[in-house]
């Protein structure tokens, strides 16, 4: 399969390489770091967005795991300046779409707004990757937020140990165990 087909395959699964991860930035030249901290209000906003993506159910959710604070740290120090700018512009866009402030929206309206954005982002990712043969990033800002929220939650101690299953020292390998549907996946590979 050639590169184009591989990219189509990735796009059709809606996945794009996670922004900020090493494989994604491999070809980029190093760039100067600008100070770009997030305010407490912005962290609270990230918490609420992340909670809509990964809500508390009978297990802990994004806010329980302080996902907003980690997202802010990751965007500040691991994103390229371009990606960071796009991420921030997205937060502004979100407030505009919310009629001024996402934070004042009722929960149902938040979910509706984010669900619509998620659908748009997935369609855009697919179209952009196929059109650009993967060369353009084509990553919608909501995709950045969604993938970072998922990463931040499942790599947190709470997500890994209380939502997923974690065993620090397995001691053995069993390669053929029965799996009961609905039981958690292993947190680490």
């Amino acid at each position: 399969m050639d590169r184009r087909e591989l990219l189509k395959m990735i796009a059709s699964a809606t996945g794009v390489a996670m922004v900020g991860m090493p494989a994604f930035v491999l070809a980029q030249a190093p760039v100067a770091q600008a100070a770009a901290g997030f305010t407490a209000e912005e962290v609270a906003l990230l918490d609420e967005i992340a909670e809509a993506i990964i809500p508390r159910t009978d297990t802990p959710g994004a806010k329980d795991a302080d996902v907003g604070a980690f997202m802010a740290r990751f965007v500040t120090d691991c994103y390229s300046p371009e990606d960071r700018a796009a991420f921030r512009a997205g937060l502004v866009d979100l407030d505009q779409r919310a009629g001024g402030s996402f934070m004042v929206l009722p929960a149902a309206d938040r979910l509706q707004l984010l669900t619509g954005l998620d659908r748009t982002a997935r369609e855009q990712a697919r179209d952009a990757w196929v059109a650009a043969d993967g060369a353009g990033s084509g990553v919608h800002w909501f995709t950045m937020i969604k993938q970072l929220a998922i990463f931040s939650f499942f790599t947190s101690k709470l997500g890994a140990t209380e939502v997923l299953r974690y065993d620090p020292v397995p001691g053995h390998y069993d390669g053929d165990l029965p799996y009961e549907p609905g039981t958690p996946a292993w947190a680490t590979r």
């Binding site: 399969m1 590169r3 591989l6 395959m9 059709s12 699964a13 809606t14 996945g15 996670m18 090493p22 930035v25 491999l26 190093p30 760039v31 100067a32 770091q33 809509a52 993506i53 990964i54 809500p55 159910t57 297990t59 740290r73 990751f74 120090d77 691991c78 390229s80 979910l111 669900t115 998620d118 659908r119 969604k146 998922i150 931040s152 499942f154 947190s156 101690k157 890994a160 939502v163 997923l164 974690y166 620090p168 020292v169 397995p170 001691g171 053995h172 390998y173 069993d174 390669g175 053929d176 165990l177 029965p178 799996y179 549907p181 609905g182 039981t183 996946a185 292993w186 680490t188 590979r189």
Partner: protein, 561 residues
């Protein structure tokens, strides 16, 4: 100067240096092992061995600042929070890329034996005969039977988990019980065996992780944490620290000196022998000389050659071993990052526990027996099957509780394999000294001029297609091949530049790894390799080192050195 004399000096403390020190010290020689970097004490200094993603500020992802500081390491997995400080700093120790070459080095006690991939396979007779049969480069001066007893020797001590398969192309060894295959891998292996009439084999990885405890070595068996690269507090994988260094220390014959950058081998042109080495103390910048009857260069392939290039330049402009015209030539690596993957249906009710340090292996089958391809040599595959985790894309789910529930449970079974192919020894794939560029200590650096050629490119078509063919034959769904742009060095299997041979006019080393022009200097790391095979090379360095150490001690006793 009395306390600066030893029977033997070993330059480097990685996989081959550790073996040289152990073998020489156990045979009664007083040994000085010189390591250019800092010490890393077994267990105590494995500072991240117990950490998980949430213990790192950025969950083990490098920051922009780290990437800026490490323009080479950022090209692949070496740049991470968990291994920060474990890979050589390209700013302190630069090199010149005449063509892009990814060079990942371990400048500390233990070298890359701490971070290595642990895959351990013997070269076969096919490998040792290939150059002569095909008229490529020069003939190996040894054959499989010369090395077989030494493979036995090093496997027995290091501890290699694996299975006896009876394949000529991948000779069996002294194995501990294997790391298990999982249910999907076992079934795929059986289907491949059937589909290809027994001509292709998916077998257990042969890995230097012990699957039985070894109290006599102070080593516990593998705990299936898959954190080997951080240093194993159980001593479950072979490294200098877990295995060869304690054995060497136990003899009372070994002195280890970290922060010792060997500048050159001191050469006595009247006796045609080395008399010692000169070092720079990496901390103080002071220069010291140490003398010895025999010297082992185990500084890693390119750095052993760097030492030779800087030695005896008053006799040979190109350095010790350059009279052959081959010093610095014939660079090899393995080319990889090509293969296939797919999805396996029918095992949704099966799962596993534990995290393995390896998976399966498919030995070379191309250009073996009656098979003839339009290129020379061949390739093997490393791979594994597992169920997808939370990082998978879930196309049909948006956001909310449904997404969370789905990502919190295991996804589909996937299986993938990556091919590792042989690179031929091309005379004009070279490293040379660039005297215009200096490292932190004012020493000249290496310039790499290495490229992948037509033979490798032709091979890569099979490396991708054969992987897909096997997976499809085994009933794997949505099989996709991939082929990254091959960049030399990325396999971290650099070899050649001081090859063994039968003739001093065309090789740097003889059949016992002695420099033709200085028989008391042995080079037994990747530099010595005459061809690359397609299997991971470290086990062969171990065997060659043990064999050379045995030779050196006998020659020393016979008064020949």
């Amino acid at each position: 100067m009395a306390n600066n004399h030893y029977d033997a000096i070993v330059v480097g403390s990685g996989i081959s240096g550790g073996w040289a020190a152990k073998e020489l010290a156990e045979k009664g020689l007083k040994v000085l092992m010189l390591e250019r970097g800092r010490n890393i004490e077994h267990i105590k200094d494995y500072v991240n061995a117990g950490k998980e993603a949430w213990d790192y500020p950025y969950r083990n992802v490098p920051t922009q600042a780290m990437k800026q500081a490490h323009p080479v390491l950022r090209r692949d997995y070496p740049l991470s929070e968990s291994t920060d400080g474990m890979w050589a700093d390209e700013t302190e120790c630069p090199y010149v890329e005449t063509k892009r070459f990814d060079w990942f080095r371990g400048y500390h006690v233990g070298g890359r034996s701490l971070m290595w991939g642990r895959q351990s396979y013997r070269f076969s007779q096919l490998d040792f005969e290939a150059n002569a049969r095909e008229g490529i480069a020069v003939d190996w001066p040894i054959r499989y039977e010369d090395l077989a007893p030494w493979y036995d020797h090093v496997e027995t001590f290091a501890g290699i988990a694996g299975t006896v398969e009876g394949l000529d192309v991948l000779p069996d060894g002294k194995f501990l019980p294997p790391v298990p295959l999982n249910v999907v891998e076992k079934d795929v292996a059986a289907r491949i065996r059937k589909a290809f009439g027994g001509s292709r084999h998916m077998i257990h990885s042969r890995t230097a992780n012990i699957t039985e405890p070894r109290p006599e070595q102070g080593r516990a068996n593998c705990q299936y944490r898959n954190k080997c690269i951080l240093g194993c507090p159980y001593g479950a994988y072979f490294s200098t620290q877990s295995a060869t260094l304690p054995a060497a220390m136990q003899t009372g014959n070994l002195t280890l000196r970290p922060f010792s950058i060997v500048k050159e081998v001191l050469y006595d042109k009247d006796r045609k022998r080395a008399r010692g080495v000169e070092i720079i103390d990496a901390e103080t910048g002071q220069t010291y000389q140490y003398t010895a009857s025999v010297i082992f260069l185990n500084a890693s392939a390119f750095n052993s050659t760097w030492v030779l290039m800087n030695s005896a330049t008053d006799v040979w402009e190109g350095g010790l071993g350059s009279s052959s015209g081959e010093l610095g030539h014939n660079v090899m690596d393995h080319h990889f990052e090509v293969g296939a993957q797919g999805i396996v249906d029918g095992y949704e009710d099966r799962y596993y526990s534990g995290r393995r340090p390896c998976g399966f292996y498919i030995p070379r089958f191309r250009n073996v027996g009656d098979d003839r391809r339009g290129y020379l040599r061949g390739f093997g595959y490393q791979g594994g099957a597992d169920r997808q985790g939370w990082s998978r894309a879930v196309a049909e789910l948006g956001i909310g509780a449904g997404l969370k529930d789905a990502l919190a449970t295991p996804g589909e079974w996937t299986i993938g394999m990556t091919a590792f192919g042989e690179i031929l020894p091309y005379h004009d794939n070279t490293i040379r000294l660039d005297r215009g560029t200096q490292d932190k200590w004012g020493l000249p650096v290496l310039a790499m001029d290495v490229s992948i050629r037509d033979n490798e490119r032709a091979m890569r078509k099979d490396m991708a297609a054969d992987a897909a063919e096997m997976l499809e034959a085994a009933g794997v769904r949505d099989v996709r091949t991939y082929d990254g742009n091959p960049v030399p060095g990325r396999a971290i299997h650099e070899m050649g530049t001081a090859r063994m041979g039968r003739d001093p006019k065309t090789s740097v080393l003889n059949g016992h790894n002695q420099v033709w022009d200085a028989p008391n200097v042995y080079v037994t790391d990747g530099a010595c390799m005459t061809s690359a095979s397609c299997v991971n090379p470290s086990l062969t360095y171990m065997a060659l080192t043990a064999r050379a150490a045995d030779h050196a001690v006998r020659e020393l006793k016979a008064g020949n050195l």
